[in-house]
Symmetry: C2
Subunit: 406 residues, 2 copies
């Protein structure tokens, strides 16, 4: 059994870095606070005798050797970066559960056959630099390294510059072929486990995603003398696109999702018809054909809306990931671990993207979900119960021991 | 006749202060650039022998004495502040036409019976600090001085602090009762004069305005795992309010206007359902009852939309001005001046708010419009022809001489 107080203590310690007034965390990818979080994680891993590797996109691998020098690694991990108004558990729960497994093995002087490795992936959230799961995407070859280095945030800072600024561009070569199995514990970020009073979600896969940046360009003009029928109001276009996206997502239930998270109006003056609006679109679905159909419907809607309002537009994909089905054997390992521990469990599909979804393309992978309060995450009020955190970490311990052998 | 090159030269000189790359001007109220504009105007007026008065909200009055010491003032003016992406003519044309009248009278050594006064009103645009026409509003008693001093910009700077920072809080007491007549030349900012190939718009009045700040509060949550039907998406509310405002304005044609100029999403992350949206609403109409009805319809729509999406809201009025009908005699003076000068002219209603609309409540007032290119203003591409600028200034000269007597 893992030590629930030790894990909880580390979670609370990490949450101090970027703590927000409302009890959340703002520790966005490749910021100075992200650096502090990484430093702390490495310090904790070194204290457990781990060797550290850092790859070219800043993914951190902390390794505890096994008894069999030819064995592949049993890996666990997640991410340390957060949303601008994120919570304490999203990401950190997975990384620090992996560390807690190592601490428990050390404490009980258990040597596994296969090495155990804990990983913190770079920029999982994707809010500062799209797309999400950037570090695991580059690691697994789904995302192209050079293209990701050139991605920039709203201020124009590139991933490449930000990585250098925090001194986390490594040169260790870590290959997906080293991985035997990858497990990722995470809070559910949705309401299902809580609603059904279930402790463990056995994640069978995750929704595919399509993200777009959309720029609508009309003509900025005076809000008073410009007659309604002569306007080319970019905000009218943006309002209709928002509704179209919502309608399309609703037409693809139960798995469809559609969200406009960012919108900027130019010039942004009360008595000026906006000449330009920049906005983001986030679409998700479990069935590949449905996700493609949603993307096409949105593109058609944008075209029609812009024509009607006399707007020009640019619709740029920033993320495009197919739905992921996890490896059956890995999923079974998680289910069995929950059963061994006599924890209530259910199979579940992840609505959020996770690093495991990219690792799953190049190695056997699965995830362990625990409930979070009201299903809320990406919010400072995100909360999880100590007993659930403890249960999830124990499932990880059992699954890793099962995969690594003693 | 006024000197068209001299007026044009001063307009271009003033436009250098806050000049934007696309040929426009960003010289927002009570900024350091506004101070430079004010300093330049005062310097030019002093060079013409004018005495300067500055009142408690920073309105600048430049006076040329008349021969009758008991006579009231014939005043002309407008504003020197601009939109964030404004043009060279909006406001400056009126102020510098007034100055050009004084220069012309000086050049020809003409003494009027009544004194002539040119005024630059503080914060006409209202984009940094709502409402618009703040300086003339306080001067005419329509807006309350203390309340206006406490208004703040998006960064939380108050009018009071900004006024002190640029050293333009005066202590001259200038009273509306000093005014015999007030004339304000301005670009039309709409398409009518250009469309009908008319040089002079004889402005009979202006649309009333209702401005609101609207905050919609829902629940920020993850864009992936949060099912559509469980969302409290503030952006969905904002999109529907935008469309409702548009629909309501369209239902009140030909005079109804509805514009959403500003919108800010919190937290503003691509994969987060916005928990809060702050937006501005701008509504206008020529008939008082219609404007009131529009305001009520919008309030009802906001209530209904928020209920449907599970949102809370705060709808705060930031401006509320009835439509203004200018003094018939003053309007006739403008029309006669245009006729004397054999300029094509037509009666017109202003869609924009103007200082003259507040001054008109406490003294006889009227306005002189000239065409602007494509009816576009509040845009860096705003443009006016030298011959129209010259014609408008000449109408002002004739109207002022008519009102002041020689
Ligand atoms: N788990 C998580 O919050 N991932 C962020 C990427 C996403 O938007 O799904
Ligand atoms: N004339 C002008 O642009 N005034 C600004 C106030 C308004 O929005 O009408």
């Amino acid at each position: 059994r893992t030590d629930s107080d030790r894990l909880w203590g580390s979670l609370m310690e990490m949450a101090k870095l970027g703590a927000t007034p409302k009890g959340g965390v703002n520790r966005q990818a490749l910021t100075d606070l992200d650096r502090h979080g990484r430093d702390l994680f490495i310090q904790w891993c070194r204290a457990e005798g781990c060797t550290i590797r850092i790859d070219n996109i800043g993914n951190i691998f902390a390794r505890r050797e096994g008894s069999d020098p030819t064995a592949k690694t049993v890996m666990a991990g997640s991410h340390l970066d957060s949303q601008p108004t994120g919570g304490k558990y999203d990401g950190c729960f997975g990384v620090l559960s992996g560390l807690e497994v190592i601490r428990t093995l050390n404490q009980h002087k258990i040597t596994t056959q296969a090495p155990i490795e804990v990983v913190a992936w770079t920029n999982e959230e994707g809010c500062r630099f799209p797309p999400c799961m950037m570090g695991s995407g580059v690691f697994s070859g789904v995302l192209e390294f050079d293209a990701m280095m050139a991605r920039s945030d709203a201020e124009g800072v590139t991933v490449s510059d930000a990585l250098d600024a925090i001194h986390y561009r490594g040169n260790d070569e870590v290959s997906p072929s080293e991985i035997k199995t990858y497990f990722e514990p995470h809070i559910e970020q949705g309401p299902i486990l809580e609603d059904t009073d279930t402790t463990i979600g056995v994640v069978i896969g995750g929704l595919g995603q399509k993200w777009f940046d959309l720029t609508l360009t009309g003509l900025e003009a005076h809000a008073g003398p410009t007659p309604m029928h002569l306007r080319r109001d970019a905000m009218m276009g943006a309002a209709e696109v928002t509704q179209a996206l919502n309608r399309i997502a609703n037409a693809h239930q139960p798995h469809g999702r559609g969200t406009v998270g960012c919108m900027t109006l130019h010039p942004g003056s009360r008595n000026v018809i906006p000449g330009q609006v920049k906005m983001t679109l986030d679409m998700r679905h479990w069935e590949p054909e449905a996700l493609i159909a949603m993307g096409q419907s949105v593109a058609t809607a944008v075209e029609e809306i812009c024509q009607r309002h006399g707007l020009e537009y640019e619709l740029t994909p920033t993320a495009d990931f197919a739905p992921e089905h996890f490896n059956k054997m890995c999923v079974d390992t998680v289910r069995q671990a929950a059963e061994q521990l006599q924890l209530s469990h259910m199979d579940i599909i992840s609505g959020a993207g996770h690093d495991a979804m990219f690792i799953g393309r190049v190695a056997p992978a699965a995830m362990i979900f625990i409930p979070c309060k009201d299903g809320i995450s990406h919010n400072e009020i995100e909360s999880a119960k100590p007993e659930h955190v403890h249960a999830g970490c124990n499932v990880l311990l059992h699954a890793m021991l099962d995969a690594a052998g003693i």
